[in-house]
Amino acid sequence: MSPLDFNLNDYSEIPYAVYSDEDLYKKEQAQVFQGRTWNFLALEIELPKPGDFKTMFVGDTPVIVIRDSNGNINAMVNRCAHRGNLVCIEDHGNVEHLTCVYHNWTYDLEGNLSSIAFEKGIQGEGGMAADFDKSCHALEKLSVETHCGLVFGSFSENMPSLIEYFGPEMCRNIERLLGRKIELLGRFQHGLDGNWKLYMENVRDTYHASLLHSFMTTFRLNRLSMKGAVEVSEGGLHHLTYSIRTQDNDQGQYNAREIRASKDDYTLNSPELLESWPEFECGTTLAIQSLFPNFSIQQLSNVLTLRLIVPKGPHKSELTWWVLGAAEDTPEQRAMRIRQSNLIGPGGYIAMEDGAVVGWVQRGVKGAEKKKSVLAMGGRDIERKSNSRCNELAVRGFWQGWHNLLEG
């Protein structure tokens, strides 16, 4: 069975080999990460000044993101056009130009090769081959676009604009959360022992949250009985789900005897942890959005986070968390965000199980390379929207988008 042997007419059964196959991993790098996708690169506020740069990965390719003297943000592969050395060694900093330490080849902040050490040789001897044309040896450039302070890049040219790529529903949520002056409250790395797609499935899995995360269920941060919805964008690529805590039509579905995750007995000594304020008119208390392929934006009460999951081979991945606040926050609001941040990250009351389950599934599917998972909750189709979150709609959407790119 090929790792791409999906059901012909739907994405409700996924071959487990997609999480471990080596050749598929290579193909995925080319077709998904270096293919027709917009990949999250950075927050604009991470690069405030001209010359500010950071390094990161698109798929497993090393990339530099840098602000040039015109204030534009550019991105290029962190690989010298000469012999492939990393041009930036530090993971962030500020430079006037990009100089590769190996042979001092120098690039401008757009990635163009501006000078070659001893290009004309020394004392008339040596120097670059006559037929060598500097202008053909820039750093490999990515297309770059930004929206609401989020910087995205693509290896493909003539991509649709970000706005088109995301579509109006997705943009609306981005603007709702980030369409204001934001500030960075913290950032950390999180190593996961599983394939990156297991994490994206988890992000898009509206079915699991209240079942896996006791803390979420017990303190009614999110239950499927609450008012909410899930939306999937054209072709399945992106998703958005949200719920409103204050409108819970609970009819005892979360009976503690049947649902492991509801703990009647459990209370907090310091409930101020959960203190929050109604930040948004819409009343949304939980919103999780994924932007294909590997980026996610989350509002949980007043904690705003971004997550990027980067593959490190088929069996490992690395997650970066950004925790955000708003410049307009009052001291009290800022304090609430900071306190609520106990819910997310590798030590988060809620998020910690998502990191663990990625590793558990990776181990569970060992020896199942010829078997399939089943995504039949909420049927097998991929509607564009459902007012129920009791389904795997958005996960099926992910596979549709992924599969089309891979075969495309």
Partner: protein, 165 residues
């Protein structure tokens, strides 16, 4: 003469008391006596786990933040009742403390540590290395933490962190 050789002179007895505090602290965690863990802190103490990168950048958000002893007790009860994770334990090696300053009100100390994690069925591994930045109060009889900031050398945490460091 280099003052680096001349750390603020501290009464050896005090040094030993701080050391004993760290010793008991590591023991309590490694032996899974976590219900005792909050008792190392005064009621309104602050406990934070963060990374060197966030610490240096003055980022207010780290990995874990408790603003009082109640929030520490909640961390322990959640770990017992609410959270899911694979069985694992720590082994702390805690260096001897360096006293940074000492006043009537408090002692500021810094201590290096390494924490090894053994997950059920696996070999021991380095989970974390870093330093404790402490503000310690002395009621004459006992030493307790008014603040303990755990600064991890790496900005990367593997899988999850549920047991306090």
């Amino acid at each position: 003469m280099p003052d680096i050789l001349d750390p603020i002179s501290v009464d050896p007895a005090l040094l030993q008391r701080i050391d004993m505090l760290n010793r008991q602290y590591g023991h309590t965690i490694d032996e899974d006596l976590l219900e005792e863990w909050p008792k190392f802190f005064i009621e309104e103490a602050r406990y934070m786990i963060t990374t060197q990168q966030n610490y240096q950048a003055n980022m207010p958000v780290g990995l874990i933040l408790c603003e009082n002893r109640g929030m520490m007790e909640d961390r322990v009860s959640a770990l017992r009742i609410a959270n899911l994770y694979e069985p694992h334990g720590y082994r702390h090696l805690i260096d001897l403390p360096i006293v940074i300053s000492k006043s009537e009100q408090e002692i500021m100390a810094q201590t290096s540590f390494a924490c090894f994690r053994t997950v059920q069925g696996s070999a021991p591994e380095i989970f974390c290395t870093g330093k404790y930045l402490d503000r310690i109060v002395d009621d004459g009889q006992f030493l307790q933490f008014k603040e303990r900031v755990v600064v991890c050398d790496s900005e990367r945490i593997d899988t999850l962190i549920v047991i306090p460091l």
